[in-house]
């Protein structure tokens, strides 16, 4: 009896020591959850999730304050990636926050109509609009995330959201279909 207790305690102590050592020796400095979530968000900075930018939304998700289905630009792919990272259920995109655009959008300023008020420049979260007071403005198409935040402030409604022009380089080979996928009405 005594021997058994002694053996068990000794083993427990030994394994405890090994585990303790391993915890120190093999410690992984996983980069914080917020960064990992932020890396999955599309960085449109559009605020459609009701948070002022992608990082604040990432913080809210990390703190459990927001569900993972509030990002329309990311769409279902982002939701799946987030669910995978956080090990939660995959949700449908919450339609209250908007629809996922199939082709990314880019803002285009009608330069004839623009009065040079700089309001859109102040609204752009990624500094993608170039211009000065009383001078015509233009969008740097390559930097525009298609967030639409420049639309409301424009007093003359001269900004339009257009789908990004698709070239041959954007074309993707389609996944073939197996006999099984066909049956599921794919």
């Amino acid at each position: 009896m005594l021997l058994a207790i002694l053996t068990i305690s000794l083993m427990a102590g030994l394994f405890g020591l090994i585990l303790g050592y391993a915890a120190v020796r093999f410690k992984v400095d996983g980069y914080p959850l917020v960064d990992q979530i932020d890396a999955l968000l599309p960085q449109t900075q559009c605020g459609q999730c009701t948070y002022p930018g992608c990082r604040p939304y990432a913080e809210a998700i990390a703190n459990g304050e927001a569900p993972i289905n509030q990002c329309p630009p990311g769409g279902q792919a982002t939701i799946v990636a987030l669910a995978d990272l956080l090990d939660t259920d995959v949700l449908e995109l919450n339609a209250e926050h908007g629809e996922h655009p199939e082709i990314p959008l880019v803002a285009v300023i009608d330069e004839q109509t623009c009065i040079g008020c700089t309001l859109c420049i102040q609204a752009c979260p990624v500094d993608a609009i170039l211009g000065a007071s009383k001078r015509m403005h233009t969008v740097i198409a390559g930097e525009c995330t298609g967030c639409k935040l420049c639309l409301p402030p424009c007093p003359v409604d001269c900004i339009e959201m257009l789908p990004v022009a698709q070239t041959i380089d954007d074309w993707k080979w389609a996944m073939p279909q197996g006999i099984g996928e066909l049956a599921h009405g794919g």
């Binding site: 979260p125 041959i168 074309w171 996944m175 073939p176």
Partner: protein
């Protein structure tokens, strides 16, 4: 002779295929007539597309440069014949998507008037200058990949090239354009090789030719015997697909493998196609840019398969006509390139580009994968046996199909050369290569999206920081203002309670002005 002493190596897998070479070799090489219109796509190789240098209505002469790019990986486009630029607009191009892309359309006048040629005095120029000439001549690899030749040469020069390999293997069935080129222009091929030797100064040069082309080997050997080149040998290589792949040919000739993510010149080797050598020779000797190439027209649905010297931009329909037309016009399946790696074309309006080595007109029935879904994989691993990169094609397939792209990378998806051996042997007729191409394009699209979102994040964070700094500066200024005011008031109260209030107000204004100038200066 030298060839017999050469010890060859093997690569993993590969296939013995029916050559189907005799069909197009039965007729001699012919020059294709000029079509009424030439279509020159601006995007003919990887890297940025070229920009047009002409406008609609401009008259161009044969050899005039019509499009170029400032990018590092560049090859200009020249007018293959004289005429008028009638449009710069989207036209069907040779691309698996079947989409249209921007082309310069030249209405051919038939005079074929040439721009004055400037032959290159190769003896007087430095290698770097010769490379510049090759760039101006718009020369790309004519083996089918169409990678611009000049950046390849200048990057290789930065390394030391021990062995220059000239690729005359042409391992894909049906294609015979290199074969007929070597038979007809062996001297020019060797002169091109000599120029490459001048540029690269390799220790040795090996010209690999598949042993199913005895006439080409004989012609090249005769030419080499007549004008010997230092340390140059012609090496017949066994006929096994894909021996003509750059990596495989290097493995056969040298026994060496190119490490992951590196290029041939990283291990002191460089590969060029025989057609490219002829293009270089012509560019230097005649001062003629790349205006035409030899194209094989073959397949079981064309009346008289043959090889043609074709002006770039010639629509395929024009060539099919020259080759006697279709046998069964209702059931045509057009392929650009060989049957293993080529892609299907949506129409015969597509023009010949620098990369077009072969046009196959097949009957629909010959194309095994034209219709219907494939059967399921039974893990028989025939694909693994034939893979020249020694990959596990079926693991790649399972993960690609499950869209588990991270895993496909772990299984070396990007080492796949898309040779099609695995698809060809699959008993379930799974289009494996298409799975890999689909997976690759998804991964590349995701990488582009990631790049964009990283950039957007950086810009957003920078803007946040800038706004925060601005706010902080403003607050600091307000605080200083309040501080100054308070100190002033305290000082006033202590020193001169009975002072003239008007004087005090003036003083304040003066002080404020002073501060403003200071602020402006700072």
């Amino acid at each position: 002779m030298a060839a017999e002493r050469h010890s060859l190596h093997r690569f993993h897998g590969g296939l013995q295929l029916d050559g189907h070479k005799a069909e197009s070799l039965a007729r001699p090489l012919r020059e294709a007539s000029l079509p009424p219109r030439l279509y020159l796509p601006l995007r003919q190789h990887i890297g940025d597309p070229n920009l047009p240098l002409v406008e609609v209505g401009n008259r161009v002469r044969k050899g005039d440069i019509v499009a170029a790019s400032a990018s590092l990986i560049c090859a200009s486009v020249h007018a293959p014949s004289s005429g008028t630029v009638s449009a710069i607009e989207p036209q069907p191009v040779a691309h698996p998507s079947g989409q249209a892309d921007l082309c310069i359309v030249i209405e051919v006048d038939g005079d074929d008037e040439a721009a004055p040629a400037e032959p290159v005095d190769t003896g007087k120029l430095e290698p770097a200058e010769l490379i510049e000439k090759i760039c101006r001549a718009g020369i790309v690899g004519l083996g089918g990949a169409a990678f611009p030749t000049s950046p390849k040469l200048s990057r290789a020069r930065a390394h030391r090239v021990e062995t220059l390999i000239i690729n005359g293997v042409e391992c894909e069935p049906y294609i015979t354009c290199d074969d007929i080129l070597m038979r007809n222009f062996a001297d020019e091929v060797l002169r091109g090789v000599a120029y490459l030797q001048q540029i690269l100064a390799p220790d040795t040069t090996q010209i690999g030719i598949e042993d199913n082309k005895p006439e080409a080997i004989a012609a090249m050997s005769r030419a080499l015997a007549a004008n010997p080149l230092a340390q140059t040998e012609i090496v017949p290589v066994p006929t096994i697909y894909p021996a003509g792949g750059e990596k495989q040919l290097i493995q056969i000739l040298t026994g060496r493998e190119i490490p992951h993510g590196r290029l041939a010149f990283d291990i002191g080797l460089l590969c060029h196609n025989v057609g490219t050598c002829v293009a270089i020779a012509r560019a230097f000797e005649r001062g003629e840019p790349l205006l035409s190439r030899i194209v094989t027209i073959s397949g079981d649905n064309v009346a008289a398969p043959a090889n043609f010297e074709v002006r770039l931009g010639t629509p395929i329909a024009h060539l099919i006509e020259l080759a006697g037309g279709y046998l069964d016009g209702d059931k045509v399946h057009l392929v650009m390139g060989g049957p293993m790696m080529g892609f299907s074309l949506a129409s015969d309006a597509v023009p010949i580009v620098k990369a077009s080595n072969c046009i196959l007109a097949m009957r629909d029935a010959t194309i095994p994968r034209a219709v219907g879904p494939h059967e399921e994989c039974i893990r028989c691993s025939k694909c693994t046996e034939v893979c020249p990169a020694n990959l596990l094609p079926q693991q790649l397939y399972w993960h690609a199909r499950a869209r588990n792209f991270e895993r496909t990378r772990e299984y070396h998806l990007f080492d796949c050369i898309e040779c099609g051996c695995c698809s060809a042997v699959c008993p379930s007729r799974i289009p494996l290569v298409q799975y890999y191409r689909a997976a690759k394009s998804e991964i590349r699209a995701a990488e582009r999206a990631q790049y964009r979102s990283d950039r957007a994040r950086a810009r957003f964070e920078f803007r946040e920081k800038r706004l925060a700094q601005k706010k902080q500066r403003e607050e600091e200024r307000r605080r200083q203002k309040r501080e100054a005011l308070r100190r002033k008031r305290e000082g006033d109260a202590a020193a001169a309670p009975a002072e003239d209030p008007v004087q005090a107000a003036l003083e304040r204004v003066k002080a404020r002005k002073q501060r403003a100038t200071q602020d402006e200066l700072s």
